[in-house]
């Protein structure tokens, strides 16, 4: 597919994105936000791993008190939500607006489920006597999952805004940008959890 046809597709059919369209989803500037955020989490991972290497026993001991089941369920919840969001984008582009909106709502709902499970996990962990100052491990556990949770909650808000804005479907290029940026942000939240979960809960 030639470059000329690509441009024609993006300009003339604002509602139906050609499946062969090779343009970057969303907005280039927004991806710098995504990369900055991903970089911050990478730094968090490095800092955690570095501190762990000087006292592995302390970290392993702390890890044993984590509720792996809740972490695993949350992982499954989040990957499912990503699937729903990707499907939502596809549906919106094919102008199946009602299905698209339902899928966005489903994504947000799973996000709320994740948050509820996470907060329950915090309550249980705190009840068993572990706080942010119990040990370096628990400092990282609460802070890293906490920053992730804050990102996730912001993501749910973004999804609600996107859903509201697109309630009549995609009506222009700005709607597309909103949808794609919202989806990209949500997938980032999922991507980060893919590392956070094994790093904190499983790796020893």
């Amino acid at each position: 597919m030639g470059k000329v046809t690509q441009l024609a597709n993006t300009e003339t059919s604002a509602n139906h994105r050609d499946p062969q369209d090779m343009s970057l989803p969303g907005d280039v500037g927004f991806w710098t936000f995504i990369t900055a955020d991903a970089s911050l989490f990478a730094l968090l991972f490095f800092q955690f791993s570095h501190d762990r290497s000087s006292q592995p026993a302390v970290f392993d001991e702390g890890q044993r008190d984590l509720i792996v089941l809740l972490g695993t369920v949350n992982t499954l919840v989040l990957v499912t939500s990503s699937w729903l969001m990707a499907s939502a984008v596809r549906n919106m582009y094919r102008h199946s607006v009602r299905m698209g909106l339902r899928l966005i709502a489903g994504t947000a709902a799973l996000g709320v489920v994740f948050a509820a499970l996470k907060i329950s996990e915090y309550v249980l962990t705190l009840r068993s006597g572990h706080t942010v100052s119990t040990s370096p491990f628990f400092m990282y556990y609460f802070v890293i999952t906490g920053i992730h949770l804050a990102h996730l909650i912001l993501g749910v808000v973004v999804l609600i805004i996107v859903g509201w804005r697109l309630r009549a479907g995609i009506r222009g290029p700005l709607d597309r940008t909103f949808l794609e940026c919202g989806a990209a942000y949500w997938h980032l939240v999922d991507l980060l959890w893919m590392f956070i979960f094994p790093m904190l809960y499983l790796a020893r």
């Binding site: 280039v28 500037g29 936000f33 501190d51 942010v132």
Partner: protein, 247 residues
């Protein structure tokens, strides 16, 4: 933007350099704040440092407090450019102005507090430590005012509908991101050491040096924008009207 306004705005853009040099030398080098002493340092040790270096600390913090004068000038210049960039009512432009000035205030007042510790360092070490703590808690936890101007700037720039925007969109996003990162300061009071304390990676190095770099880049574009706005004016393009009533 008239020629006179354009020239003054460009001058304001340049004042960021004056601010950074004076603040960098005063606060950073003489004030021994790159990096700061950790919150875990015993009061006796901290007091000893203040006694041994009282003169340089006094000059450092005094100059650093004064350097914020140029931060305010920079804010005003940025405000003028924002007014010409912002579409519609100028609420966000005023937010940039207020946020910038309050951020300068935050920097200034925390320098007064550290200056006080250096003024009479022979007093009880616990008091020196108290002042040092106070300065840092104040500087870091007032981050909200910086969020105001960085996010308002970001939104104005994102909404700039010019063919060739005055500021690049990625600069808006980096500013918004850096402003959001400040939220990590909310957990700073829980830690006296480690990466989340006031001397740590996430509550010192990232929130100070990323926004500082961002400010420099903003200033470069601010300078260019002032020139372009003058050209727009000279060539008779419709100007963004400023609503000059205050309140």
């Amino acid at each position: 933007m008239t020629k006179n306004e354009s020239q003054l705005t460009r001058l304001c853009a340049w004042t960021v350099a004056v601010y950074f040099v004076l603040f960098g030398i005063g606060w950073g080098v003489l004030g021994r704040m790159i990096p700061p002493y950790p919150a875990s340092m015993p009061a006796a040790d901290l007091a000893q440092i203040f006694r041994d270096n009282a003169s340089t600390l006094r000059i450092g913090f005094a100059v650093a407090a004064f350097s914020t004068t140029f931060f305010y000038l920079w804010s005003v210049g940025l405000f003028r450019v924002m007014v010409r960039t912002e579409r519609g009512g100028k609420i966000l432009s005023y937010t940039v102005l207020i946020g910038g000035v309050l951020t300068g205030n935050d920097l200034m007042f925390s320098c007064f507090i550290w200056l006080t510790a250096a003024f009479r360092p022979e007093q009880d070490p616990a008091l020196i430590q108290l002042l040092y703590d106070l300065g840092w808690l104040m500087l870091d936890l007032a981050f909200g005012v910086a969020m105001l101007y960085m996010i308002a700037f970001g939104v104005i720039v994102l909404r700039d509908a010019r063919e060739k925007p005055l500021f690049p969109k990625w600069l808006a996003w980096i500013g918004i991101w850096a402003a959001m990162e400040f939220l990590a300061e909310l957990i700073m009071p829980f830690f006296r050491s480690g990466p989340f304390s006031w001397s740590g990676l996430f509550n010192y190095w990232v929130p100070f040096f990323v926004p500082a770099t961002w400010m420099v880049i903003v200033s470069v574009y601010m300078h260019k924008a002032a020139t372009r706005l003058n050209e727009e004016y000279e060539s008779g393009l419709p100007q963004h009207v400023e609503h000059t009533t205050i309140g």
